[in-house]
């Protein structure tokens, strides 16, 4: 046990570097996934078949081929056509495309579930399709899609481990190194578990905050400040003060 802790402390600079790679992959991969999800989700949900059919095909293609296959393709096949990309770029691309395709379904579904009355009101007010989406529909769909996007992000975080197969030295890679000097259970079950759990927790907290903010903007639930404030709000303290008299 003590040796394990000591070995972990000694390996910490490497683990930290691996953790940093994992964080970068997660953040950049999620950012790319989100952009692709919005573009593909809007395309797939568009009334014009010239948009919806290509949107659907791209989504199904990247959902239907596994992340590992996509990674290998980008890392080993593309260079043969003279396209040579650094490992981090390959990782971000593959994660972004794969999870972006899943998230596109979430985006499309959330947009479709904004109540019909909202769409009809925009028509009665003569809004253009772009105006309607940007100012009315998307802001409401956003609040609906955040929980599903959050769970996809946690999956993406775990998916980053797969990029170690193309030799990016991420957290899992360094866990594997640690395993050689400690024991397997320690490295994976303790350090690995705690490491990924803390990352996932941080992600979830950020996404919960985003969701609370989005809901507050729709007039549902307290503002982020009210949630985070450890002291009672002014209104509460007023009413408590009132009771004293």
């Amino acid at each position: 046990m003590l040796e394990n802790i000591q070995a972990t402390v000694e390996a910490w600079p490497f683990l930290a570097r691996g953790l940093w790679v994992t964080i970068q992959l997660t953040v950049l991969g999620s950012a790319l996934a989100l952009v692709l999800a919005i573009i593909l989700g809007l395309m797939a949900g568009a009334p014009a078949r010239a948009l919806s059919v290509p949107g659907r095909i791209i989504i199904e293609f990247f959902r239907g081929t596994s992340l590992v296959v996509q990674l290998f393709f980008i890392f080993f096949v593309l260079p043969q056509f003279g396209i040579d990309l650094p490992g981090m770029v390959v990782g971000v691309l593959a994660l972004g495309l794969n999870y972006g395709a899943y998230a596109a379904e979430v985006v499309r579904g959330s947009i479709a579930s904004v109540p019909r009355g909202q769409w009809e009101a925009t028509t009665a007010l003569s809004m253009s399709p772009v105006h309607r989406m940007r100012r009315v529909i998307f802001p409401q769909a956003w609040a609906l899609m955040i929980p599903s996007l959050a769970s996809l992000m946690v999956h993406l975080l775990k998916g980053t481990a797969i990029v170690s197969v193309i030799l990016l030295q991420d957290f899992t890679f360094h866990l594997d190194q640690l395993r050689r000097v400690t024991d397997t259970t320690w490295a994976y079950a303790v350090v690995g578990l705690v490491g990924y759990f803390v990352l996932a927790l941080a992600l979830t907290l950020v996404m919960n905050a985003l969701e609370a903010r989005a809901k507050h903007r729709l007039g549902r639930g307290p503002s982020l400040r009210e949630i985070l404030s450890p002291t009672p709000t002014a209104k509460d303290s007023l009413s408590t003060a009132g009771r004293g008299f």
Binding site: E120, T123, A124, L125, S126, M127, H131, Q140, G219, R220
Partner: protein, 270 residues
């Protein structure tokens, strides 16, 4: 009340042999009627007789499956070219659509915007008004509907009656020539209905907006309407002025319907 303009002038709404089908279900068939500029026309009739569908056709939320709808003589969604019925471009449809406004049974305020943003959004971004201009007008309309203090409130913090008043202000902010009202008090608590109807009466008295109204509030219909159309099964059973319609309807079907909604009591005895 401003008098309706010369009936010989071009009607502001004209249905010509309109058919609306949903799949095999023919909801409106061979429908012909017109509304003159400035007229207030109320549609009555049993549930499912096609009243809402007519308003939705005028608002372009639905498109007729046959026939023509003309707004001030201009085709709304389709025109006849070389004997064939062809759809207009979206741009042409939008040009006519901006002349028409609608208030819905379920209010449909945008929950992601404040009250004032709900009202100014389209005047600014569709009509191209300046923010200051649109805001001034919105505050004036909020005053008219008795909600001066709610400009920065969120729709979710308002009662149903207040939300509907905002929805009325929002529709009026677009300066529509035609205002469509589909059972706008049906979702409200009974004690709130009166205040919303009061606002609509005032709009009817102080503006010359053409109104096409669907309502079960027969006293209101009698007071504000120039004409009442009785519908059944997608066609017009009777077309009469409100006094005739409510006191001496010509058709048995109308009598039965009015008896069902009014009970034995008459209206208009005031």
């Amino acid at each position: 009340m401003p008098t309706p303009t010369d009936p010989a002038a071009t009607p502001i709404i004209e249905f010509r042999d309109v058919e609306k089908r949903f799949g095999d279900n023919v909801v409106l068939k061979n429908l012909d009627f017109h509304v003159n500029r400035g007229e207030r026309v109320t549609l009555i009739g049993p549930s499912g007789s096609g009243k809402t569908t007519i308003l939705r056709l005028v608002m372009t939320l639905e498109e007729a499956t046959d026939g023509l709808i003309l707004i001030d003589g201009d085709p709304l969604t389709h025109r006849i070219v070389d004997g064939r019925r062809v759809r207009l471009s979206n741009r042409e449809i939008k040009r006519t659509r901006t002349r028409i406004g609608m208030v819905f049974q379920q209010f449909n305020l945008f929950p992601n915007m404040t009250v004032i943003q709900n009202i100014t959004e389209s005047p600014i971004h569709v009509l191209g008004q300046s923010k200051a201009e649109a805001t001034r007008r919105a505050r004036d309309l909020l005053h008219q509907v008795g909600l001066d203090d709610k400009a920065d409130a969120h729709p979710s913090s308002l009662s149903g009656g207040q939300q509907q008043r905002v929805a009325i202000a929002r529709a009026l902010a677009m300066d529509p020539e035609i205002l469509l009202l589909d059972e706008v008090t049906s979702a409200l608590d009974p004690e709130i209905v009166g205040e919303v109807l009061g606002i609509l009466r005032r709009i009817a008295e102080t503006t010359d907006i053409t109104m096409l109204i669907v309502t079960h509030e027969m006293q209101f219909a009698r007071d504000v309407s120039d004409r009442v159309l009785m519908f059944d099964g997608g066609s017009i059973v009777e077309d009469a002025d409100p006094d005739t319609m409510f006191t001496a309807p010509a058709h048995e079907r109308t009598r039965k319907f009015l008896k069902a909604v009014l009970g034995e009591g008459q209206i208009g005895t005031r």
